[in-house]
Symmetry: C2
Subunit: 311 residues, 2 copies
Amino acid sequence: MVWSDVEIRHLAALRAVAEEGTFGRAAERLGFTQSAVSQQISALERAVGERMFDRPGGPRPATLTPAGRLMVEHAAVVLDRLAQAADELAALQAGSAGRIVVGTFQTVSVRVLPAVIGRFLAEHPHIEIRLVESDDQDDVLARLAGGELDLSFVVAGAVDERFEVVGLCEDPFVLVAPAASTQGERRPLDDLAGAPLIGWHAAACQALIDQELRAGGIEPDYVFRSNDNGAVQAMVRAGMGLSVMPLLTVDVDDPAVAVQRLDPPIPPRVIGLARAVGRTRLPAADRFVELAVDVCADLGDELRARARRRR
Amino acid sequence: MVWSDVEIRHLAALRAVAEEGTFGRAAERLGFTQSAVSQQISALERAVGERMFDRPGGPRPATLTPAGRLMVEHAAVVLDRLAQAADELAALQAGSAGRIVVGTFQTVSVRVLPAVIGRFLAEHPHIEIRLVESDDQDDVLARLAGGELDLSFVVAGAVDERFEVVGLCEDPFVLVAPAASTQGERRPLDDLAGAPLIGWHAAACQALIDQELRAGGIEPDYVFRSNDNGAVQAMVRAGMGLSVMPLLTVDVDDPAVAVQRLDPPIPPRVIGLARAVGRTRLPAADRFVELAVDVCADLGDELRARARRRR
DNA sequence: ATCGGAGCATCACTATATCTGATCACTACG
DNA sequence: CGTAGTGATCAGATATAGTGATGCTCCGAT
């Protein structure tokens, strides 16, 4: 009566005998000899501690005992499930099924992902895409390392060697000022000294900004912090202060703010797509990366064109 | 890539490694050596044709590949199902679970079963009872032989040696006549010669009745047949004819009919409870038989007392 | 009654698979 | 650069599942 001795082939034999009525025909179906099936059923009965069949002897069929009926029902579920697993795995190998979980953050979700997902699903309609959005890049990277995510959009730089990052586009830092300022003007970095600033709480690129400001001898003075881009911009609009933001997070169509270049410029943040090195991925996941590269190239062209127009 | 080589222990190893993160700890949990688990996972990967884990090497945990994630989900279902089977079988062995399917026919369903089931469920509240009612005793016996039924109420006599029958009670045949006749009177069998009769279609005891009538030199003349006892009695009430019925099928409280004894009497039908010989039964099924014997003994006492009163 | 056949159990034997224990190779980290 | 922790691999002892032959039991037919 050792349940760990139960084997899949025992369950298959159980079902075959239950359906065929005799050990011999079951053996034929399974491609074994009658002797083998007899031993398999015997082993199963020893393992579970109950007889599975009444064997009337003579030409009358073996019939299930109550315990046997119970086991057959479970065996059917188990065997069906294994068959299903085989089917699904075949589909996975054929590329006609699968799931990709992608980490993302607000800017990417708004500016990049819709186009990428649209194109991807057009190519791979049977592959499921799931998104995980987080403010906290370390959290996302931990999940990527743990295998919970297959890919993750990241701000390159704050990423260690466990990951390989494909660069997608540069996102320049700009100064966002109330509309009283001149649109597109070049603004000396020193203007920020002592000025009231608006920023994020602890996003990855906020650290980049502060680091650069301090390198320029400016100790930033935040009068408001929010992780919502709209809220940040609304406060600028209200005249509460200035904000250094990545261009992609700025709503450039807002007439109530002026977008200005910094002088000297802060090195732009690089948006990338990270994969855990050495981890097996679906081919479709790599295709997803390619599509993201394409989409971001288009986006970069558009940004540069817009900047030229504004200058 | 031979799915039939997949073994339960492989699935257990898969799950253990997925949860523990390393082969060694999984081995510890399973009571094997690391080497064994490594070989088990390797065998599984060979069987399904896909790597289940990425092994980064060094102290970093093994993580599931997409195929591995798929397999783990199925493995969990399979393993849980087996655990459930073990639980249910233990309950079956302990007598605290199970299902008994009982064949029955109209008289028994009405006069005997309610009391038997009531007492049985009081004793075995966790055992499920399922009833199959049929007019056709051959059909019921075939199902009993096939294992579909565990027990079946039968009219003894028309039962072959594949079954053992426990006698429950004798059910005497009586003549049911319109109320104009005298209640309880002894009626010569010859009175039925040429009389319009009401009977069943092809029930087991109808054959007994006809056989006895013919043995007495009477060719029965049926003017109405129904398998519904109420309908038969209603037609007698309406004066359409006489009916020879087993006493238990008669509603003796009906003032519009007279129940009379036949002279010479037709040998009573014996109601019994049949089991397929040699078939494993739940202990509870045998207990069900005992209770049926008790209930029918009470019923017999009651019938005899009532007959004495009527005489 | 006896006999033949169908059906399951059992036996002896072989091939194979599984486990253990030792060792190797690799990686991260101090 | 060594150490610790990891999985892979190897060789060998052991156990197991299979085959084919045989035995036993029961049913039904002659």
